[in-house]
């Protein structure tokens, strides 16, 4: 099993005000200066946040079942459903990954909300989501580079809870990895702690491909990321 772990500073992730505003729904130039200023201020404050991490482990022994739309890894059978299965079925190996923005950003968001500063709390929450996505993007880039040496490519990343893949399978995913992998724990409701964390599979192989835009495959029509990515 190949394993790699990454740790990031916020500055390396190149988050900017426009990106955060875009996730909030604003088109470029549409947000008021007061909001932009507040986002800049909170991004600056967030620079002290540590524990931004991403980690993957590659499983080479994977068995796909076309009829059931499942993949078996280490005797655990994952029911990926049609969309994810279709994207990942040609993989020779699967990277199981986790990424997190750490606890601190969630603590700051909740504290601001509790203190009545709802906007600050909301901005921290959005920044937390973007931090974890950016960290996992960087990890995915590193995985792609590492696979190129053996002429292999990678798929997009897919997470339980999206594209019909039942989020309850998160429990099985966590059984594949050591306890406290990436500093993330899972509760009974399949909710990760820290909350600003992501998990999932990336397919690896000579015959897989990465799609620049996959939101059209998913049925969550109101998802903010679908709107943001469609705009790009």
């Amino acid at each position: 099993m190949t394993h790699a772990a990454f740790r990031f500073d916020l500055n390396e992730l190149n988050l900017d005000t426009i990106q955060i505003e875009s996730v909030m729904g604003y088109k470029q130039g549409e947000s008021q200066e007061t909001i932009s200023e507040l986002i800049r201020e909170i991004l600056k404050e967030s620079e002290t946040i540590g524990n931004i991490k991403a980690e993957y482990v590659i499983f080479d022994n994977v068995r796909f079942n076309d009829a059931e739309k499942t993949v078996e890894i280490n005797n655990l059978v994952f029911s990926l459903r049609k969309i994810v299965y279709g994207q990942i079925k040609k993989a020779e190996s699967i990277a199981v990954f986790l990424g997190t923005a750490g606890k601190e950003i969630g603590i700051r968001s909740r504290k601001a909300m509790k203190d009545g500063d709802l906007i600050k709390g909301y901005i921290y929450d959005v920044i937390g989501s973007e931090i974890v996505e950016a960290a996992v993007d960087r990890m995915q880039d590193e995985l792609e580079k590492a696979m190129l040496s053996s002429s292999k490519r990678i798929t997009n990343r897919y997470s339980p809870g999206y594209c019909d893949w039942d989020v309850i399978e998160q429990h099985k995913l966590f059984r594949l990895i050591p306890d406290n992998f990436c500093g993330i724990k899972l509760n009974e409701s399949a909710l990760m702690d820290p909350v600003k964390s992501v998990s999932g599979f990336i397919g690896i192989g000579k015959n897989v491909k990465h799609n620049p835009y996959t939101c059209n495959l998913c049925d969550m029509k109101d998802c903010i990321y679908r709107k943001v990515r469609a705009r790009k």
Binding site: Q32, E33, I35, M113, G121, M220, C223
Partner: protein, 222 residues
């Protein structure tokens, strides 16, 4: 309409909380919702008028603009905060019974789910719509919802969930409420929730945005 109420309504709509609030920049240094609500009361405007003629229409306008995607969550939060700063002056009249609200609305994020931003937004918009909101918080068990329904007969119930797993707990909570209080009205909402799901679990209403919930509640009492 009273000039002060027009100004108060505008402050709420634009999110001008109080005099020291820097937002919106073109109203810097001017009185905000806080000062204007107090001024109105001190000058004999009835609390009912403040609620009916200024706060409720302002928040309805904010909710409609959000539904039409003319404004986004930050402006909605600013407006809700301005509304709260005016509402605090009305609280004594609600408590004494001099000013009546449209009804009670119990809201919470279902068991296992810790997400509260969407739930808070809905709670604020419904309060701004003239309802008394009983916010049970996050990770709320069916038992806690039931207890709140028993303590507040006739209240409408709102369940929120952001995750596909915790959404399943909505079903349990709806069933638990239906078993003991079959006539209760139940609203559901949250990113993974759909009208199909709402109907499947036997809830009464689903809205993809807060104003839809406010409109539904108003239909119940009109």
């Amino acid at each position: 309409m009273n000039e002060v109420l027009i100004k108060l309504s505008r402050c709420v709509e634009l999110g001008k909380i109080d005099k020291v609030s820097p937002y919106p920049p073109d109203m810097k240094g001017q009185d905000g919702a806080d000062e204007l609500a107090k001024y109105a009361l001190d000058n004999g405007v009835k609390p009912d008028e403040i609620l009916e003629d200024a706060l409720i229409p302002a928040m309805a306008s904010v909710g409609n603009r959000f539904s039409r995607k003319e404004i986004y969550v930050p402006q909605m939060l600013m407006a809700a905060k301005a509304m709260n700063s005016a509402m605090k002056h009305l609280k004594p009249f609600f408590l004494s019974g001099e000013t009546k609200r449209k009804g009670k609305f119990i809201i919470g994020t279902v068991a296992g789910d810790l997400h509260d931003i969407g739930k808070n937004l809905v709670a604020m918009m419904i309060e701004g719509g003239g309802w008394e909101v009983i916010d049970l918080g996050v990770d709320v068990s069916s038992e806690k919802f039931l207890k709140a329904v028993e303590e507040n007969p006739g209240a409408v119930i709102g369940l929120s969930a952001l995750l596909t797993t915790t959404m399943e707990n909505m079903k349990k909570t709806v069933s638990a409420i239906r078993e003991k209080h079959s006539g209760s009205k139940i609203l559901v909402g949250g990113a993974p929730v759909t009208m199909d799901y709402c109907q499947k679990i036997g809830a009464d209403f689903y809205s993809p945005d807060p104003q839809g919930a406010v409109n539904y509640l108003n239909e119940l009492v009109n």
